[in-house]
């Protein structure tokens, strides 16, 4: 709150998180960095300055790899990261409805945060939105933030400029604030590109000035907030109340060795396993889904089958019940068991789907359910033959119709045998023997 006599003390965790993030974003870490005072007046900044890192940030010169979603054309992108630095948060400023006063909430003032600045490498709204989504993925994988834009755990401002094809200098850049979701990042940027392009085409490119605009979600457009007359003079000087941040190589190495497999590495590994890009993106984008998938594989499941079950029936269940994969009762080990049971022919695919719903909702083991409900597939030709004989003998009229030419009735007989076997008959065998018997060959 800027109370006289109160001094800041550096939070050790933010250094750890900064190093994790810097490494995950392939940056060069500054083993020695310092803090600076960024001085300006605003109601949400009680001290009149914000403690930040100006000329020697903790990490510089990195990049992030990502794959664009297939519905937007797909493709691999690599975007540069200019820097990552530590700074303190300001309070929250709310403007009242009737306009003659504002309200300040200082609860988050002074809380440390990490600012990530990208190189101007993105060319469309979707590229920028995916970049933001990848940052969210990375901080979640690292466990340093939940990255929720709605909660303000991840905030984003963008700067947009355009230039005529062939011109190497960048055009005038415009800042856009009030972006609260990935989709608003996408739409605001595309809008702003069009707005600037229109001015260019009308010969009014000088109307594009360096300013800050607000994205209006309702109207789906950017509007002027304030015009920047020149760059602000923040009068940076080294923060005297905080010590130098010194990273030892041992500290950095220990953090480096503790990093989990990051999204990009996971995507490339899944790709090498032979999964399609669509599968790769679905499985790797959510850390929990990836973990579940990896656990299923390490229990011995077939890669493609595991992917299909997770992306198909299990995803549908989660969507229906509004559950995350951590909430379902089916464990990865049991999923692997289910896949193996079907693959080995112990149970049929149809039965497998049936017990899946029970396993998802109530848990339990595959083996247990098979035993409890007597679900083992009947694959003995003799036994199947007996059942077929019974059904045929009980339905002479249909047999006559079949032999008279209504071959579609095979389905009727097959259904009856299935019913008799309580769904356990092996479908392939059933139909083979059924056909033989119907045609009078046995």
């Amino acid at each position: 709150m800027g109370l006289p006599g109160a001094l800041p003390v550096l939070n050790s965790k933010v250094i750890e998180f900064a190093v994790k993030l810097g490494l995950a974003l392939n940056c060069k870490l500054s083993l020695n960095s310092k803090f600076d005072r960024k001085q300006y007046f605003y109601p949400d900044l009680p001290k009149g300055y914000q403690i930040s890192q100006f000329d020697i940030p903790i990490a510089t010169g990195g990049y992030v790899d990502l794959d664009l979603p297939l519905e937007f054309g797909g493709g691999h992108r690599k975007f540069g990261i200019t820097r990552v630095h530590i700074e303190e948060d300001a309070g929250k400023l709310l403007h009242s409805g009737n306009g003659d006063y504002s309200q300040v909430d200082l609860n988050r003032a002074g809380v440390p945060l990490l600012e990530i600045v990208s190189e101007p490498d993105m060319r469309t709204g979707i590229e920028a939105a995916e970049y933001a989504a990848e940052l969210q993925r990375v901080v979640r994988y690292l466990g340093i933030s939940n990255g929720n834009m709605q909660e303000g755990s991840l905030r984003c401002d963008v700067n947009v400029s355009i230039r005529p094809v062939g011109q190497s200098e960048f055009g005038t850049k415009v800042e856009i604030k009030n972006l609260n979701s990935f989709s608003s990042i996408n739409r605001a940027i595309d809008f702003e590109i069009s707005r600037q392009a229109l001015l260019h085409s009308q010969g009014q490119s000088d109307q594009i000035v360096q300013e800050t605009r607000l994205w209006e979600e309702g109207a789906q457009k950017t509007v002027t907030m304030r015009k920047k007359e020149g760059l602000s003079d923040y009068r940076y000087f080294p923060e005297p109340d905080l010590p130098e941040v010194i990273l030892t190589p041992e500290y950095v190495d220990s953090i480096s060795n503790s990093l989990p497999e990051l999204p990009e590495a996971k995507r490339r590994r899944y790709e090498k396993m032979g999964l399609s890009m669509q599968d790769v993106l679905f499985l790797a984008n959510d850390m929990n889904v990836a973990e579940y998938f990896d656990a299923t594989l390490s229990s011995g499941a077939d890669i493609k089958l595991a992917a299909n079950w997770i992306m198909g029936d299990i995803a549908a269940y989660m969507k229906n019940e509004k559950l995350s994969i951590n909430d379902i009762k089916l464990t990865p080990q049991e999923l692997a068991e289910l896949i193996a049971s079907i693959k080995s022919g112990t149970i049929s695919g149809k039965i497998g789907k049936e017990i899946l719903s029970e396993l998802l909702a109530k848990g339990g083991t595959v083996k247990g359910l098979i035993e409890e409900k007597d679900l083992i597939q009947i694959a003995d030709p003799v036994e199947i033959g007996k059942m077929i004989d019974k059904v045929i003998s009980e339905n002479p009229k249909q047999l006559e119709q079949y032999r008279g030419g209504k071959t579609k009735l095979q389905g009727f007989f097959a259904g009856q045998v299935m019913k008799l076997s309580k769904g356990k008959a092996n479908p392939g065998l059933l139909n083979k023997i059924l056909l033989e018997k119907l045609n009078g060959q046995s």
Partner: protein, 142 residues
């Protein structure tokens, strides 16, 4: 800054030596390869440039009458010149320091600590509209 400008202009120091390393006819060049050209964090002022007092007052949100500007400008200029004495120091062999302190790190654990006297904090707010601090509407940052 005078001495830094000197460092930037010359990439090597030519030292003629009479030691045993080289003969008098073969002077050797001492090449400085540990130069760090840094961007300065504040506007550098040479002692020749007078301070822009109206500009400073504006950014510091301090109102000055014209006579005050006239009175204070030379005084502030004197303070700057007083610091300008540092320009006489020879920094040729000095690695730029990031900070001036020698103490180790003073860090805190990432554990919340309750402040016992929140009432006093809130009581010190001149215009409180629970749970917010009421302030005049300001849209522009500087």
């Amino acid at each position: 800054m005078g001495s830094r400008a000197l460092l930037m202009l010359t990439n090597f120091n030519f030292k003629a030596t009479v030691s045993s390393f080289g003969s008098a006819s073969n002077p050797f060049f001492l090449i400085k390869n540990n130069l760090r050209i840094r961007n300065f964090s504040t506007k550098t002022r040479s002692s020749l440039q007078p301070p822009d007092l109206p500009g400073l007052a504006e950014t510091a949100r301090i109102s000055l009458a014209p006579n005050e500007v006239e009175e204070f400008a030379p005084k502030i200029g004197q303070v700057i010149d007083w610091f300008g004495q540092l320009q006489a120091v020879d920094l040729d062999n000095v690695e730029p320091a990031i900070r001036a302190d020698t103490e180790g790190d003073n860090l805190r654990e990432d554990v919340p600590q309750t402040f016992e006297n929140k009432e006093a904090l809130i009581a010190s707010v001149p215009s409180y509209e629970e749970p917010y601090i009421k302030v005049p509407k300001v849209l522009n940052k500087e």
